[in-house]
Subunit: 506 residues, 2 copies
């Protein structure tokens, strides 16, 4: 044989091999798997049971771990007991415990038993669903679950597969923004018949998540063409449609091309909600792609009393929302819906020979690899599917409401203490507040920095800060899954104690 120029000695017998080696190492023996995975379940359940006892913010110094861990991987295997021991001694003390009920920083990352089970299943199957054929259930369940969630949010049909659009699970908002931005970029370049990206301009507010600027730069938008419209405390830090229109008008007058508008439902600093309806008018008038980042606030819209924050959503091109932020789903899980999936596919499709198959070529199936940055993808929908089924819409709504109720409680406590003020109106489960706003002759910012440091250094609560409109404020975000009202009250008492402390020391 060897018509293509190679020659082999076909008659040589296959060399004998060392079968001992082969038989000894079985990295996935089902019974060993069962035994060890049960041990890990107990380890994690125990961790959850005692999580309250750990300092929530890690109290270690940079480089702490390198001094405790060998410089090289072991040559021979180590038993699981040794590893568990090291996790307890070296890893847990260096962690910030995001699942602690005393975690009120950033936005908490919410979790649940159902999501954990879904993630186990996703990992366990290890199905790679880059196209339909590579594992049909991976693609089909994701399409169904994305339609389910769209319906829970009362999104119009144009965002569902039952309509003419569709949803996809990205890892994070960053990717959702990046892929839609690239689709918008390529469409705009085609429309204006150029390959020069230098005139394309994108718009956001000074409250938009920093990942928008990052994604814009990644997509080749020049930093000078990223318009961050200034917001004000008077307007609740919302993106002002009038200011936006003015900025767009100026850009157009200078020969620039408006490309993409990113609005936010629940900004990171203060959970401001940009008004979608009037922003959509501007986007339409100038032919911009309009994306809504509802990473945090969007989840609340499964409750009728919050749904009005999505008014106008039928007029946007794409919408993203991260169930890991408020729908109990563990990281990473970002849901992206688009009206015109074909625009993602136009920009992101690849079609190498080794992935070709009749179904993909006939356009009768969805190949999710063409909706995302990468090629390979996990069975991501299982996690969300298990959450939605195990809890039902009813419990998820009650979970959102419970967090909001606790935040209201905290807000009420802040307002009851004349040394404090709530700085911006609370919309969801985040309270932005500060100590001692009015006292003359003292630096409010410095006092609040001291207070924050004092509180966090106790390990009994973890809060973060922000500065908006020039005002330094503390953020108290309720949402960690294990948080109960007693934790909120204890945190408030701790803050009060801290206030006594820092006010005494000035």
């Amino acid at each position: 044989m060897g018509s293509l120029g190679f020659s082999y000695d076909d008659s040589a017998p296959f060399p004998q091999t060392d079968h001992v080696d082969q038989q000894q190492f079985k990295p996935l023996d089902p019974e060993e798997f069962r035994k060890q995975a049960h041990q890990m379940v107990d380890f994690i359940a125990d961790y959850y049971a005692k999580i309250e006892s750990y300092p929530v913010l890690a109290q270690v110094q940079p480089g702490y771990l390198r001094t405790r861990i060998p410089q090289n991987a072991p040559y021979r295997p180590e038993p699981l007991e040794t590893i568990f021991n090291d996790i307890n001694r070296h890893i847990i003390p260096g962690m910030t415990h995001w699942l602690s009920p005393k975690f009120f920083a950033f936005f908490p990352a919410t979790v649940s038993t159902a999501a954990f089970l879904g993630e186990m299943l996703c990992t366990g199957f290890n199905s790679v669903g880059f196209n339909w054929l590579s594992s049909p259930a991976v693609t089909e369940l994701e399409m169904i679950v994305m339609d389910w969630l769209a319906n829970m949010l009362k999104l119009p049909k144009c965002f569902t597969f039952a309509g003419s659009g569709g949803g996809v699970i990205q890892n994070t908002t960053s990717e959702a923004v990046l892929v839609t931005l690239i689709a918008a970029r390529d469409k705009a370049l085609e429309r204006i018949s150029t390959d020069d990206t230098r005139n394309l301009v994108v718009y956001c507010s000074d409250q938009t998540h920093s990942t928008f600027t990052k994604a814009s730069k990644m997509a080749g938008i020049h930093p000078r063409n990223i318009r961050s419209i200034q917001t004000s405390i008077d307007a609740g830090f919302c993106l002002c449609p009038v200011a936006l229109r003015e900025a767009v008008r100026e850009d157009v007058a200078e020969g620039l091309v408006p490309l993409y508008l990113c609005a936010t439902v629940g900004t990171t600093s203060t959970t401001a909600v940009d008004p979608l309806e009037p922003l959509a008018d501007v986007a339409r008038d100038y032919g911009m792609w309009f994306h809504v980042d509802a990473a945090y606030g969007g989840s609340a819209c499964i409750c009728p009393e919050f749904r009005h924050y999505f008014n106008g959503v039928e007029r946007v091109d794409s919408l993203s929302l991260s169930p890991h932020k408020w729908l109990l789903s563990y990281l990473d899980c970002c849901c992206l819906w688009v009206k015109k999936p074909e625009l993602l596919v136009n920009s992101l499709s690849t079609n190498p020979e080794y992935l070709k198959n009749k179904l993909s070529e006939s356009d009768s199936v969805v190949d999710y690899k063409d909706w995302q940055v990468g090629t390979g993808r996990r069975f991501k929908s299982l996690r969300l599917w298990l959450v939605l089924r195990s809890y039902g819409v009813e419990n998820l709504q009650s979970h959102i409401r419970s967090d909001v109720r606790m935040a209201k409680k905290f807000e009420w406590l802040v307002r009851s203490d004349p040394r404090f003020e709530v700085v911006v109106p609370r919309l969801f489960a985040l309270v932005c507040f500060r100590l001692n706003p009015d006292s003359p002759g003292r630096s409010t910012e410095s006092l609040n920095r001291k207070l924050l440091e004092w509180v966090n250094s106790t390990g009994k609560a973890y809060l973060t800060h922000t500065i908006v409109g020039g005002v330094y404020m503390l953020r108290f975000a309720v949402g960690a899954t294990l948080t109960e009202e007693r934790h909120v009250i204890a945190a408030w008492e701790l803050i009060g104690e801290g206030a006594d402390e820092v006010l005494r020391s000035v």
Copy 2:
């Protein structure tokens, strides 16, 4: 109060709330978690125990699932038993079983008990490690594990944190390529003092993974400036340094700017290895960023007998390798090493107020958010850490060798049957072969297509195809974790049966 213009009625009592609601729904009760997670462990262990009994390639039609699942999420919770039942009835039959020992398609995705435990732990902690402070152990363990793996691969110190470089875990190769490409792009634009990307050119071979073209387009490289250098069967489908130099020279003569070269160690179609040393000369002479995609082949370099494929690696700028492909790590896990992390940071850094902290500002810590597309990131290193410790370098080497030995066995079987030929030399654990190369008057391609369809439709083995150098060939990739020699032999017998069948029918 209210110095910022808001007024509240501080005297109003906090409204009484419905505490029943709050107490009923506990999505992370540790004991309920324990109970259900144990059930899931058994479900997955049982799946592994009987995985051989499932057809490896799903035998369902597009849309199969939508007819079996309700159109909306349930309002009330459903019990876990119902969900397990649905998984058995509706999900498993629609899956392609990537972990089946009869899976020989694409590159298998390798797994292990240790990696599963690591992933459980990563999920369980749900630590979000966007910067050092957000969970120090997340960042520090990743730095250490990346140095461990670098040492196992005998990478020079310039790629480690112990030296002046460093590694980071990305989700997939696509992201590793994208972030390095963007760092290279921004550096090149600065060097040539322009903001016009239209003259930047990137280089690869016609065997480079399709994600490179996709990433290039995402980063704003014009499709006409993506040079895919033609390879040939005579040169083993390697990227030819002479042809590359010629292409670069022509581009430079036309005023274009060479930006980025992507070489591959173990191409997707045939596992060709591009020669790093002479390619590095070209990259150096023209000031290009040189990246090596060793997604599949790189893992083999932990064995001394394969390490020579990395000769010249000390001269590249970045290198990526996916342990989910051959180091038993489940999806997703792509390790990226760079010589100059500061170039990633320059392009990808964000610094919003709410993430500011003293340590990040003092530059004394690594903030991995500035090394990747997104902001949030999971405790990704736990999976790899558990694999390396639980098995040791010894067993991982033996695992690589065992797969190679089985592929050699298959190669030997192919060569023993005069109806078949091995099309390209086998380097790792992939055998590219075809049926009936020489018979006059018959379409070899059509015969092999029929053979592939016949084999896959049995559900007893799953292979895929490729076309390189105009030759249609079948790919037999050994590597699924549960595959033993008996599966390889059974697959070969099935292929022989298929050959009888299709040869009879022509």
